[in-house]
């Protein structure tokens, strides 16, 4: 009989875990080996550093360097592992330490300066409490005293993690660890136990719906492709996460790429595709790098390629880098882009499931959708369908950003209220500011205001209040955010990203932006025509928006007016203040600001006059200065440079 811890890990996993169990080994010895690979307990200390894009942005690189030099200096025998993002961006960089026999403990905001102090503390068996995020729970290990558990942290406690389960916990580019945690077993069992029709059926019954925005039932879509006669079918993963404010797909690929690959492999089997593409943004270099490594590992293990584990199932994946076009999130545009053409949508039908890439049946789902699939097949469709609301099953990952205390990723069951997410999980608005609204769904979505905070999140309820799920980016705005400015921001984005194929979207979005610009422009010296445009603005915006929505070719155009229509609906008073009073209540639209110099405080130092870009400030040295309102562009330079607090915004 083989001694398990003496054989190669790859051979062990292939022989005893992925393939059918060999009778020569007892289950307990296999489990012991798996536990070693999972690092349930360790023989030497392990340090984990959160090195996703956000971690690196917060300085994880320097933390890593500092950690290495500490280890060298003290000649320690320590393993250092780079992990993905656990989802709490606000606490980055994160550093976890696991000592033999003890729970893994996580520290937050570990900038390079704090490394020495923390490591000294931990290796002296004493932890500095103020930097602790929490410890992981493991009944078999000794817990740290007076240290909270991570699963009791208000940010993590209400979450139910399916897609993000391994993110920030495991080494993302180590297939051994993924397999030891039960990975790829679901895929291999599926191709052994179920027919492809059964797979589509199970996914349909689970109630899984597209997580990229549309919310179309996934299993139903697969059935279209499955029932189509064809010599070749394609599977595409849409990882072109262009929606500004959403970053869950990036985090999943950086933190747990094998989950996506497994999900895609199952889906490919379901629809009968032998070739798949992952269409990923070029702006995500780290995700691409990790995905490439993960794909190579899966091929090495025989989990991708020809005749997978003797099942006569073939499947392989190709990475296609997107080239920066938001419209390529639309199915048919994405297909054109893979084919090497301009990424412009075409009218549907025929739907891609009937005739897609190179004219063959093609299924496109996004990263989060695929990442749900392995668990559905493993735990059953009934289990999945038991989570969530009547029409929307399972969990959804939301990306929290903007004016909020704890930014990051949360995965919660459908049906949680937005209030719970913002105030309980993410700790509300910082600096005692007042909540104004939360923008959901990016450029296709809308705003949710105070009065709708208690709706339970699902696809239908969000549409009812004029928003949409989108890919799940939640950008929180406080009283200092100007909603007209936000609408203008989205319109500017959309009109730049409009592919130009259909007129309503190409021309309409441009006109909407022009109206919004005239509303926020400086009032002085504008022509009568401009004044008229402004007044017409609010009436025309709504009308124009409706036409664009009803007549555009693709989803981008049809949803393009949403940010404007939604802000007009909820914040009409702000629009009116901009149009009629020519004031920006939040003080964001700089051109609408007016400044005044307090003659009592002004000493005539002339510094403001020197810094004024338009020479709008006059006055003689040592005498109070004045602002010529007609010349002022509201830049605020004078207020910034004044040492005597003499310049104020006129309320």
């Amino acid at each position: 009989m083989e001694i398990l811890n003496q054989i190669d890990t790859k051979d062990f996993l292939k022989k005893y875990v992925l393939a059918d169990k060999s009778p020569t080994q007892t289950q307990s010895s296999v489990n012991a080996e798996l536990s070693r690979i999972r690092r349930d307990d360790v023989v030497k200390p392990v340090i984990y550093i959160g090195a996703g894009t956000c971690g690196l942005g917060a300085g994880a690189d320097k933390t890593l360097q500092e950690t290495m030099s500490y280890i060298d200096k003290n000649k320690l025998d320590v393993e250092v592992i780079k992990v993905g993002c656990i989802g709490l961006c606000a606490a980055e960089p994160l550093l976890d330490i696991q000592l033999p026999g003890k729970n893994r403990v996580s520290f937050q905001n570990v900038t390079s300066k704090k490394v020495d102090e923390i490591l000294q503390g931990v290796f002296g068996q004493e932890v500095k409490s103020e930097l602790i995020l929490g410890q992981f729970r493991n009944e078999n290990l000794e817990a740290w005293e007076n240290t909270p558990f991570i699963d009791e942290h208000p940010f993590f406690a209400p979450q139910q993690r399916i897609v993000l389960k391994n993110c920030g916990v495991v080494n993302p580019i180590d297939i051994e660890e993924y397999i030891a945690r039960g990975g790829y077993k679901s895929f291999l069992n599926t191709i052994k136990d179920f027919t492809s029709a059964e797979v589509c059926d199970k996914v349909e019954k689970s109630g899984l719906r597209g997580r990229g925005g549309g919310g179309f039932p996934t299993g139903k879509k697969w059935k279209f492709a499955h029932s189509q006669e064809a010599d070749q079918r394609y599977l595409i993963c849409n990882a072109d996460e262009g929606d500004p404010g959403a970053f869950m797909d990036r985090a999943v690929i950086e933190g747990d790429p094998h989950r996506l690959i497994e999900g895609m492999a199952i889906s490919a089997y379901g629809i009968g595709a032998t070739k798949g593409y992952i269409y990923i943004r070029a702006e995500y270099p780290l995700a691409i790098e990790r995905l490439k490594i993960a794909l190579d590992q899966a091929r090495e293990y025989g989990l991708l390629g020809k005749n997978i584990f003797g099942s006569s199932v073939d499947f392989d994946l190709i990475i296609k880098m997107g080239a920066g076009a938001f419209v390529c999130g639309e199915e048919t545009a994405l297909i054109h882009s893979i084919e090497g053409k301009r990424g412009m949508p075409r009218p549907r039908p025929p739907f891609p499931a009937i005739s897609g890439l190179f004219g063959k049946p093609t299924i496109i789902n996004n990263v989060e959708t695929f990442s749900n699939v392995p668990e559905i097949l493993e735990k059953g469709e009934d289990w999945y369908a038991s989570i969530g609301t009547a029409t929307s099953k399972g969990t959804k990952v939301f990306a929290l950003s903007g004016k909020i205390s704890l930014t990051g990723l949360v995965e919660i069951p459908m049906g949680t209220t937005i209030r719970d997410i913002i105030f309980d999980i993410a700790g509300g608005i910082p600096d005692n500011k007042k909540f104004k609204s939360v923008q959901i769904g990016g450029p296709s979505g809308g705003c949710i205001t105070e009065e709708n905070l208690d709706i339970q999140i699902d696809y239908e309820s969000l549409i009812k209040v004029g928003a949409m799920m989108g890919s799940g980016g939640l950008v929180v705005m406080d009283e200092d955010t100007c909603m007209v400015d936000v609408a203008k921001f989205f319109m500017d984005f959309i009109q730049r990203e409009s592919c130009g194929k259909c007129i309503p979207c190409r021309e309409g979005t441009r006109r909407m932006l022009e109206i919004l610009e005239s509303i926020t422009h400086k009032p002085n010296g504008s022509s009568e025509k401009e004044a008229l445009e402004r007044f017409k603005g609010i009436i025309q915006l709504e009308k124009l928006g409706k036409v664009i929505r009803e007549t555009s070719l693709c989803g981008l155009g049809q949803t393009a007016p949403n940010p404007v229509l939604s802000t007009i609906k909820w914040f009409r008073d702000e629009y009116e203040a901009h149009i009629y009073e020519r004031k920006c209540p939040s003080g964001v639209c700089t051109e609408l600001r007016t400044f005044k110099i307090d003659v009592e405080k002004c000493t005539g130092c002339t510094i403001c006059a020197h810094k004024c870009p338009t020479n709008a400030i006059i006055g003689t040295r040592k005498a109070p200065h004045f602002i010529i309102e007609d010349k002022c562009i509201g830049c605020g330079n004078c207020e910034e440079v004044c040492k005597f607090d003499a310049v104020d915004i006129v309320a």
Partner: protein, 154 residues
Amino acid sequence: MEQATVEIQEVKKTPGRDSLIPILQEIQEREGFLSERSVAEVGTRLNIPTSKIYGVATFYNQFRFEPKGKYHIQVCRGTACHVLGSTTVLAQLEKALKAKAGQTTRDGKFSIEVVACIGACGLAPVICINGEFHAKVTEQSMIEIIENYKNTEA
């Protein structure tokens, strides 16, 4: 230009329209931008008219037709960055470098690019210089960052 030839030869096993974008990406990765000569070369090799290639290349934001600076600065203009003040950060940067978004400074050291979203919204506003991320940038820290790069140059 020779590199373009090498790149095409690499994928020659499976030539076709669908390899156009990866080839252009590879050329840009190596040369920093798409020169007229390399575009023409790709056209000859793939048997696609140059106009069609420009049609594709100009459609996507990623492709540049002018060399980029030694330090390429990407300023994120995502929603979260916008709400937290990326407009002023960008304006400050343009002022400090005396170059607009999409341009390269006269000495060729810096180029500015505006990108839709880098995906680090939790750390907004974000800028990325030659692949290195800088989080929670303010007008002040922006100046410091730029000065740092200028000084390493000297």
